[in-house]
Symmetry: C2
Subunit: 297 residues, 2 copies
């Protein structure tokens, strides 16, 4: 399941808590579009903002409405105890895989991160994706640490935060990591602007934030790269440059993706947990225009 397009839906909120109906609609949209897997409760799914009980419920809904599409569930938390509970809940819900970032309050040492993955992989009965996201975890993986963790039982994929902008350098970066991990572990690119660069450089999967809201557009990019048409994949990603520009101006993909879903009427507004705020004002107007111009919807 760790190939192709893995699409990460929002976990939308409304006045009464989790907007379950809207979440189910997002999941059904992804299934209808034909994504290869669904990443529920990723950063786009606001896992870090939800209680253990809320996360168990979202995992259940995702699996229930995903049908035959495999669901990966984010189980990150600052405390190992909670990660183990979340892993158990995800497995009970029927998740096909789990995803774990070394979420921190106190910055973690490499030994502590290795210890976390050791404790968690030992308890799993489904595959795990190592989620490398220095922007939110404050932890930077070395390739050597990735290599050590990738050899733990049940590790099946690594979600990397992006690749260098130069295609040759991107290839070299993926090759360096590949040399340190077992052959059965895939590498997935994230940071949506890097999709074509990553896929063309040999990543087997694109873990996509915006793909959770606009799956068809992102599937076209994925399929082009999978077919070996690097040029077309690059062209389709470059077409969306104004969107990536908006991501980088507004602190990442989440606040833009949330606003896009709100503008499309897919979720209520506001759908993010406070203190987070979807983009507003001029940036939101630009986004609305972009959704039309780029025919994202």
């Amino acid at each position: 399941m760790f190939t192709g397009l893995s699409a990460f839906p929002l976990t939308p909120l409304n006045a009464s808590g989790i907007d379950e109906a809207a979440f189910v609609r997002l999941v059904e949209r992804l299934v209808a579009a034909g994504v290869d897997s669904i990443g529920a409760l990723g950063s786009t799914g606001n896992y870090a903002y939800l209680s253990v009980a809320e996360r168990a419920r979202v995992a259940q809904l995702a699996v229930q409405y995903a049908g035959d599409t495999p669901v990966m569930v984010g189980i990150g938390a600052v405390r190992t105890r909670d990660v183990l509970t979340l892993a158990e809940d995800a497995q009970q819900a029927g998740a096909s895989a789990v995803m774990l970032a070394p979420v921190s309050y106190q910055r973690l040492s490499p030994e502590e991160v290795y210890g976390l993955f050791e404790d968690v992989t030992r308890a799993l009965s489904v595959p795990l994706c190592v989620y490398d996201n220095p922007g939110t975890t404050n932890f930077t993986f070395s390739d050597e640490l990735h290599g050590e963790i990738a050899h733990l039982p049940n590790v099946a994929s690594i979600k990397i935060p992006g690749v260098p902008n130069d295609p040759a350098e991107a290839k070299a970066r993926v090759a360096r990591l590949r040399a340190l991990i077992p052959v059965h572990v895939t590498i997935g690119v994230s940071g949506d602007a890097f999709a074509a660069l990553g896929l063309n450089a040999g990543c087997e999967v694109w873990y996509s934030a915006i793909g959770g809201t606009f799956p068809k557009t992102m599937l076209a990019i994925t399929r082009a790269a999978q077919a070996g048409d690097a040029e077309e994949a690059t062209r389709l990603v470059e077409r969306l440059r104004p969107l990536w520009q908006l991501f980088s101006e507004t602190g990442g993909s989440l606040r833009v993706t949330a606003a896009a879903a709100e503008l499309q009427g897919l979720v209520e507004s506001p759908c993010l947990p406070r203190p987070l705020k979807a983009v507003d004002g001029e940036a939101r107007q630009r986004l609305a225009a972009l959704i039309d111009e780029l025919a994202l919807a």
Copy 2:
């Protein structure tokens, strides 16, 4: 209550969860030493690793055993909803004040941080200390934002992460911030190595991690500075230089403070929540020697 030495006890764990007996002993030690206030559930008290229910219980114990010593309770969480619950729990427990850091998973914008403090201060009936800790929150306050937040109702103190190493620059830094905040809001230094620099530069309070475990030594520093003996305060802090060195080598004060409390038999070992690990090996041996040499105990 936002003056002098505010000491931050660990929240020690053992095999069954929170080691309540050990926590109560730490609190009683602080009261006996005569600290000016107790900062329960600070970073040293591992607030970010505990559930809402665990935090309510720790707040109750702190207030119950602190007697007449005022207790400030950390209420930080990534979600505003949870911060409001924690504030209510702290107030119900009888806390004299609360402390709030803009804890994040997604890096926060200044507008989001202001919105968080606006939402929370509006709901409070006790004073609030703004907790500025970029190392754990990934958020850097500008002095201007501090100024705006300090004018919100119930804000009574700002805990800053340290001051420049040069005494004149430290004074200028505190003066710059002072010029932007109301006169009733005090400024407290943290980062224990900066205690004398901060107090000598005009900070009214030292928010101390190590003071939660070795209150007498840290009170001597505080009292010297309060008496206007800047030189003696500086000498007493410089005497502890090998300890500050160990802090910076091991990712901050927490893993050293936890090891020190374990070595002293004040708490069980391990007392930190996994994946965090107290310092071990050679560093732990150096720490044991330092506790003796510096007569910290």
